[in-house]
């Protein structure tokens, strides 16, 4: 937390929060503070944002794991990741456990199992290009690929999965779209 610069004691002028690395947007999302809720409002569920940057893995391969755990409860997600053979599964499991710990310690979450994964995304990290030597003097340019992983945990039971759209529903929507068309500047 940033200290007020107009502090009384001269000794406490040392800036305790030195920006070690520039905070990304995802890290800043944990800092938003809502105004206190009115007595009649339903309880706002706690949201915990966590991420890990510059993981030595491909963002496309990581995306499959992120898609697997989207919408699951945290216990189910941890179970699935434990028995998955991919390298990214171990990393995501660590991230989820860290986020769970943060939730209980800092974000006033009562039960650590009462969390579900609302969003889980991957992003591209910084790439480094290198030369890969082939035979006959040929060479290729290799990319050392890194990715970021973002996760948002929300308190509460996981929402039920949406029912799949049938062809009949899609046809109904299409017909409704056609019916909604109007001709402008006429009667």
């Amino acid at each position: 937390r940033l200290l007020a610069s107009g502090s009384v004691f001269p000794l406490s002028c040392i800036h305790t929060s030195t920006p070690l690395e520039k905070l990304g947007k995802w890290e800043k999302k944990n800092r938003i503070v809502y105004p206190p809720q009115l007595p009649g409002e339903p309880r706002r569920p706690a949201e915990i944002y966590h991420c890990r940057r510059e993981i030595k893995y491909s963002k496309d391969k990581m995306w499959y794991l992120a898609k697997l755990i989207k919408g699951m409860s945290i216990d189910q997600a941890l179970a699935q990741l434990e028995f998955n053979d991919k390298k990214g599964a171990k990393v995501i499991k660590e991230v989820l456990l860290e986020a769970q710990e943060m939730a209980v310690r800092n974000h006033n979450v009562e039960f650590k199992s009462n969390l579900y994964i609302a969003e889980s995304l991957t992003g591209r990290g910084q790439y480094v290009k290198q030369i890969r030597y082939h035979g006959k003097g040929m060479f290729g340019i290799m990319k050392i690929v890194r990715c970021h992983y973002f996760v948002k945990l929300v308190e509460g039971p996981p929402p039920p999965p949406e029912p799949l759209k049938t062809g009949f529903d899609q046809a109904k929507e299409y017909v409704q779209q056609l019916r909604n068309r109007t001709i402008t500047h006429t009667l």
């Binding site: 499959y64 898609k67 998955n84 030369i131 006959k136 040929m138 060479f139």
Partner: protein
């Protein structure tokens, strides 16, 4: 940049080869297209009657050259158009390529960790493996060197245990700790 120079000369060689191949093809294809008509160049136009002779000469000269292996470059499969990101996404996100949710995960009754139904619990296995390693270290210390395994059975005794009448002629390995609950004494 040595790598770049060497890289461009195979390209030049390839281009020259392709030009030669294309020239050969043109000469080979045109007689096929014109067929009964006279050839556009030289002696065939002047003399109508022996119009076949230049063709035959051309053909024999053609057939002497065996089509080399590198001619097949022109018939290799290559993508015609760039695959759009929409097409790529349809292929990559197809349900067959997504990771399937495993339904065979249970809780181990011994330690409470997660385990797959058809696989031993990882935690319990690691526990047993560590204890087995300690027992084998003791055995190595007792044997002293390689090829000294005794011909009799081995019994492992923990703190405060005495060998019974059944363990008469057996080799006894002492472990300086309490007996683990999962290692049942006979």
């Amino acid at each position: 940049m040595a790598a770049l120079v060497v890289f461009s000369s195979p390209l030049l060689r390839l281009r020259a080869l392709l030009q030669r191949c294309w020239g050969r093809l043109e000469r080979g294809l045109l007689p096929g297209f014109s067929g009964p008509q006279s050839l556009p160049w030289g002696p065939a136009l002047a003399v109508q009657a022996p119009a076949f002779l230049p063709e035959l000469v051309e053909d024999t000269s053609q057939s002497n050259e065996v089509p080399s292996f590198l001619d097949s470059i022109l018939w290799m499969a290559a993508p015609k158009k760039r695959r759009t990101i929409e097409v790529n996404r349809c292929r990559r996100r197809n349900p067959s390529k997504l990771i399937k949710v495993k339904r065979n995960i249970d809780v181990c009754p011994e330690c409470g960790h997660l385990k797959q139904k058809h696989v031993l619990c990882g935690y319990c296995y690691a526990k047993v493996k560590a204890e087995t390693r300690q027992i084998r270290l003791e055995m190595h210390k007792k044997e002293g060197g390689p090829f000294n395994a005794p011909t009799v059975e081995t019994v492992v005794l923990y703190d405060g245990e005495q060998p019974t009448e059944k363990d008469e002629g057996k080799r006894i390995i002492e472990r300086a700790r309490k007996r683990p609950s999962w290692f049942i004494q006979n």
